[in-house]
Every structure is written in structure tokens, then in C-alpha cells.
């Protein structure tokens, strides 16, 4: 890729990532700063010690799933104008990107630059560093490409200390689709995400909802949204999961468990729900919760003319 094209690709990737992260409520990120390398083991391609590491973005939040924890997320953005590579090359690229992020985090966590940059945040006692790799392709054939399923067999380096969460085109598409669907449905400018009781948190101090999506829910492929107004409270689950009776029943189980009977309506969104074909399955699943009074509304979050039972 020529220098001009490469620069352009980088800029497009940055724009895509910025828009996506804004949708997830990750608005106040620290952008594009350099961290001096403080580890002699970090060597560049020429065999020389590295001088610095470039941080694309850093986002910090209090983790609602672990007590007294702040999450410092180091974001790396990779963009290609071409198709994603395939087979072994895809895995090689992933390993390269993760190794790069590991080194960046490893130096950043001891870096005065980061310490200064985040000094305005009141961090909690436990600080956890994680990586988020936003790896997207702008190729028209790859709009909804899922590379995560091609990477399940990748052999991981046991030296990688920091977990790295991957957003590929398919995940980005799902997240953006769900958030914009929720905004449209509730005619809201911001989406309030619901944080289920999970992880290691045992205290009751954490809020159970907020306006940013934690990493754990980014990777869940199930996006819980809360809607409150003066008349009602609703819980919406967007699930990146094909419809089947079994899958729908399990999603309903989540919704019933998390809502504690405190919401009046639960909506379950799936990408291929079709009332013409799935109506009886919906009734059958509902019968398993016959003692519960909530109104349950299944819907398809990929808009088509076949889905009159939309989110409205």
C-alpha cells in the first residue's frame, strides 16, 4: 500500500472506530499519544530496542462487574481497504496486532505519560489494563464479515498477560445496529445500557445501568438496554444469535432473571426473527414462564417488511 493510501486508510479506520466507540458511549477517550518504551525486551524489526509505542486511544471506566475496579482500555485500530486476509495470514496478523498491544500496555502501565494523562480520573483501588482491537475492513464484500469464528483455533502466546477484546466488522455492525435501533425505538439521544449482576462483584454499590457499554458486554454479543420513563420501565435484549426455540427460551431466561419482575415489558431482538415462522415457538417459550406477568415482545432488529412486530 502506498504511503498516501496507507495514510488515508488509517484515517478512515480512525473515523470508523471513533463513530463506533461514540455509539457505545465511549466518548471521552485519550487519543493518539506516544508512550516511551521502558522495557528492554521490546525489539523492533531491525533488532534494535524500541523507543516508543503509539497509543491510538485509551478509555477508562469503573467496572460494574468487579468490585472496586477501574478498567483502563488500550485501543488499537487496524483498518484495511482490502478484504480481511484468510487462513494462516489472518491468524498471523492477529498475533502481530495482539503482541503489539501487549507491548504497548506493558510500557503504558508504568509510563509517566499515561499517569499524567489519566490523572484527572479518580481511579479505584484495582486498576486493570485490557486491550481492545478494532479491526475493520472497508471492502464492500466484507461489510458483515465475522473473522472471530475463523480465529477460534489460533494458538495463543502464553506470555500475553493482558486480555485483548476484538471488534471485527460483524461485531461492529451488530453493536452499531443495536444501539441505533434502541435510539430510534425510544426516540432517545443516548442509550442506557443495563449491567446484569455478573462477574465477581458481590457488593451492592455498583450501578446496574449506565451510558457506556463495558468491554464485557461488547464481547457478549448480547446487548441489554434499559428504558425508563414516568409510566414504565422496559428491558430490551439485542442478541446476535439466530432464532431457534432453544435460543429464544434461553434469552427469555436471562431477561426474566435480570428483570426481577420489576419491568413491565421485555423485548427480545434477534437478527432473523420472523413472526410468520416463529410465532408458535414464541408462545411455547412463553409458557415456560406462565407465572410471570411481563409483556414479552420479540422482534427482528434487521429491518425488513416482514417484521410488523418491530420495536415501535
Amino acid at each position: 500500500m502506498g504511503g498516501e493510501l496507507s495514510k488515508k486508510s488509517g484515517e478512515i479506520g480512525e473515523d470508523i472506530a471513533q463513530n463506533l466507540l461514540a455509539q457505545l458511549g465511549w466518548k471521552l477517550t485519550l487519543d493518539n499519544f506516544s508512550v516511551a518504551c521502558n522495557n528492554d525486551l521490546h525489539i523492533n524489526k531491525n533488532g534494535n530496542s524500541k523507543v516508543s509505542h503509539g497509543e491510538d486511544r485509551v478509555y477508562i471506566y469503573h467496572n460494574p462487574f468487579h468490585d472496586d475496579s477501574s478498567e483502563i482500555v488500550h485501543i488499537s485500530v487496524k483498518h484495511t481497504l482490502n478484504k480481511y486476509p484468510s487462513g494462516a495470514t489472518l491468524k498471523t496478523h492477529l498475533k502481530e496486532y495482539i503482541s503489539e498491544l501487549q507491548e504497548t500496555i506493558d510500557c503504558a502501565r508504568y509510563s509517566p505519560e499515561l499517569k499524567t494523562a489519566i490523572s484527572s480520573h479518580v481511579l479505584r483501588k484495582n486498576k486493570k489494563h485490557s486491550g481492545l482491537l478494532v479491526w475493520v475492513s472497508s471492502h464492500p464484500d466484507e461489510v458483515n464479515r465475522n473473522i472471530i469464528r475463523d480465529l477460534v483455533n489460533v494458538r495463543l502466546d502464553c506470555e500475553w498477560k493482558y486480555p485483548v477484546y476484538l471488534i471485527d466488522n460483524a461485531r461492529a455492525h451488530f453493536l452499531a445496529n443495536a444501539v441505533s435501533g434502541a435510539k430510534e425505538c425510544f426516540k432517545a439521544e443516548e442509550v442506557e445500557f443495563f449491567y446484569p449482576q455478573m462477574g465477581t462483584a458481590i457488593t451492592a454499590t455498583e450501578p446496574r445501568s449506565g451510558f457506556f457499554l463495558p468491554l464485557e458486554l461488547v464481547a457478549s454479543d448480547i446487548l441489554p438496554v434499559l428504558y425508563k420513563d414516568s409510566e414504565r420501565v422496559e428491558l430490551v435484549f439485542y442478541a446476535n444469535q439466530h432464532f431457534s426455540l432453544d435460543a429464544y427460551t434461553k434469552l427469555l431466561t436471562y431477561a426474566m432473571r435480570f428483570s426481577y419482575g420489576l419491568v413491565s415489558r421485555i423485548r427480545i431482538g434477534m437478527p432473523d426473527f420472523n413472526p410468520a415462522y416463529h410465532g408458535n415457538d414464541v408462545k411455547s417459550a412463553r409458557m415456560k414462564f406462565s407465572d410471570r406477568r411481563e409483556e414479552i415482545v420479540p422482534f427482528c432488529f434487521n429491518k425488513t417488511i416482514l417484521n410488523p412486530a418491530s420495536e415501535d
Binding site: F65, H66, L94, I98, I148, R149, L151, V152, V154, L156, D157, C158, E159, W160, K161, Y162, P163, V164, Y165, L166, I167, D168, R171, P196, Q197, M198, G199, T200, E216, L217, A219, S220, D221, I222, P224, A239, N240, Q241, H242, S244, D246, A247, T249, K250, L251, T253, Y254, R257, K288
Partner: protein, 381 residues
Amino acid sequence: MKNQFDLNSNILSGAELRVLLNSDHISYGEVQTTLKEKGVFVGSIDKSVTVPLLSAMLLTPDNFSRLIEASVVRESKLKTKISTLQLINKDVDWRTPLRGDIFDDDVILIEESENLNFVESPDVVIEGKSVVKIQYVVVKKDYSKDWLEREIKFCGDVCVRQVGDSLALEFLSHHTAKETESINRKIISLVSKILNTSGATSSVTPQGINFDSFDNIERIRFFKRLTSGMPPRLKVGNVDNMDIVLDEAAPELPSDPQIAWMKNAVKGLKIDGERLNNIFLIADEMYYQYYHVRKIDVEFDFSLGANSGSCGVCFSFSAPARTEGAYKKGELAYSFVKIVYDNAVNTESKKNINSDLEIIIKELINKHYKSMIDERGVPAE
């Protein structure tokens, strides 16, 4: 019964998921693989690192099913048995006698098992003209176990099917545990009696494939033939596991060094490997008379329309009791140890593929059993 946890129709999250992930049911590798499925990559496989990460996420129903299939269900794989009854003529109405409350007294079916109760009593469902299904669910309580195992549900079913236009009425029974295996046996016996009393069948005892349906030579030959698959849908398979037991009633082992080492040294032998078809115990018929093969695992590649992959099938003789000599009454059962799909498939497609594979394995067994019986009348060349 409300506090009972059913892993098949439920899904775990939070603290309950953490208990499951930390349990011995789930291996270190399975937690890491599930994290990778969710696009989370971390070098350590230590559960102290991986479990807090995974238990702070919501698993999709597909994630959860795969995790359970790979672990908890591993211990209760569905096993299938086949047996047949002969109808007196192909047009006889064998379904009507099965109407009515034939399982009113379902306690008889579980009276020998302690702490066992029906969650769903056996129900007769008539599917068209040729299939009757009897399904049920039992729960076994064991308060000495942790919550994961304290109350375990076992499903079982017996499918009665008239094969095409033939006189054969086939019983295809599925069980997971010894308890459901025993219930299936009683259901088949009861149904057979009802059909015989109504005059639909000529015999009261269904014919199955038992350990003592063969002599030692035939039995190993039969197992060996099962590895030939059903090309092109099921390709030739490789034996990767087998249980061998020396037959104490067989003639004394020859002094042949190839096998003499087993004399006075080996009673039972479990062999784990790959391509075991080629080892002398299977490849060379001259040794067949000295031992029993009671179980083999065969790995087949399959190709079903657009779907392909591989499946591990366990063929074994399941004894009705653990008493001395009970193995001779063992009935042939088969189960899928694992099924790997080349491409990603959703839960529904998976069910269809698994059902097609089950039918192919049934055809494979029937074909070779029939050929073994047919050969009995033919003098050896």
C-alpha cells in the same frame, strides 16, 4: 421441583456460571476456547485468569450449548439401541393398541431405582402412520453432590417405527444413564406385550443385537466391518479406542510371541490411539477367537449435502447389570462421542445433521448384522 436446574433448557450467568466454569466439568482449555469464540484473547489458561473474564460476560445460547456439549453432556451422551419385532402382516394396525393410558402405572418403570422420579411421565405421540414416539424425563436426586449434580434430569425415549412397507417394526431407543436404559427396556417389553396380545405381532420378544448374538470371531469381524462406513455420506473410519477382554472360556493362547505375552498377564486391555484398524488384534483374524472386543470408538468423516465434518462413534455392548457374566446379555448401543463441523452451523442445522448421522449409523449396523447372519449359512471358501 422448581429449584431443579435443567441444563438443557436453561442458561447460566454470573455467580452460577462461575461455579460451573470453576468445576471439574469444564476444562481449562474449554474456558479459553469459549473466550476465543467471544473474541477475547488472553495467553494464560489458568482459571484464576480466564474464569473472572468469562463469567463477567453473557454467553449467547450457542456459546452455552457448545460449552455444555463439550463438558457436562460428555458424561451423559445419548446412546441408541435398535431392536425389531415382526408384524403378522404389513397392513396390520399396530398403532391403535398403543392408544389409551398404557403408562398409567409409571411407578413400575422406576421401582428398582432409588431417588428416581418422573418429571414428565411417558407419553405416547403418534407421528403419522408409521411412527409412534414415547418420551419421558426422570430426575435423580443425590444430595451428596454439589448443585450441578444434586438433581440430574435424564431424558429418554423409545421410537417405534414400521420400516417402509416391510413386516419389521423397529424400536429405536435413546438413553443417557443406566436408569433411562432400564426404563427403555421396560417400555419396550410392555409395548411388545401389548402388541402381541392385540395380535399385531407374532412374538413377544423383540430381536436386538446382543453380545451373545455372535461368537468371538463374528463379533470382531462385525466391529471391523462397522469401520467401513457408508460411503459417500460416511467415509471409511479409523478405530481410535477399544476395550479388549481375554475370553477365559476360549482355548489357551498359542505360544506365538505376538499374543503369548497376554497369557497370565492381561485380563482386560484398553487401547487408545489412532488407526487401530491396522494393529494385529483387529487386522489378523487368527487371533479373534481368544478375546472379546466389548467397545470400539471409530472416527468417521462425513459429507451430507453442503455440510461436512467428522464424528466419533462409540459402539459398545451395554450389560443390563454388573454381575458376573451379565456382559453376555449386553445389547449393542452406539453414541456420538463428538461431532465436529467443518463450517459454522446453527443449533437447528446441527440437530438435522445429528439426526441424519444417527440414521446412517443405524443403516450401517443393520447392513452388517444382516450380512453376518446371511453368511452363517454359506460354507467358508
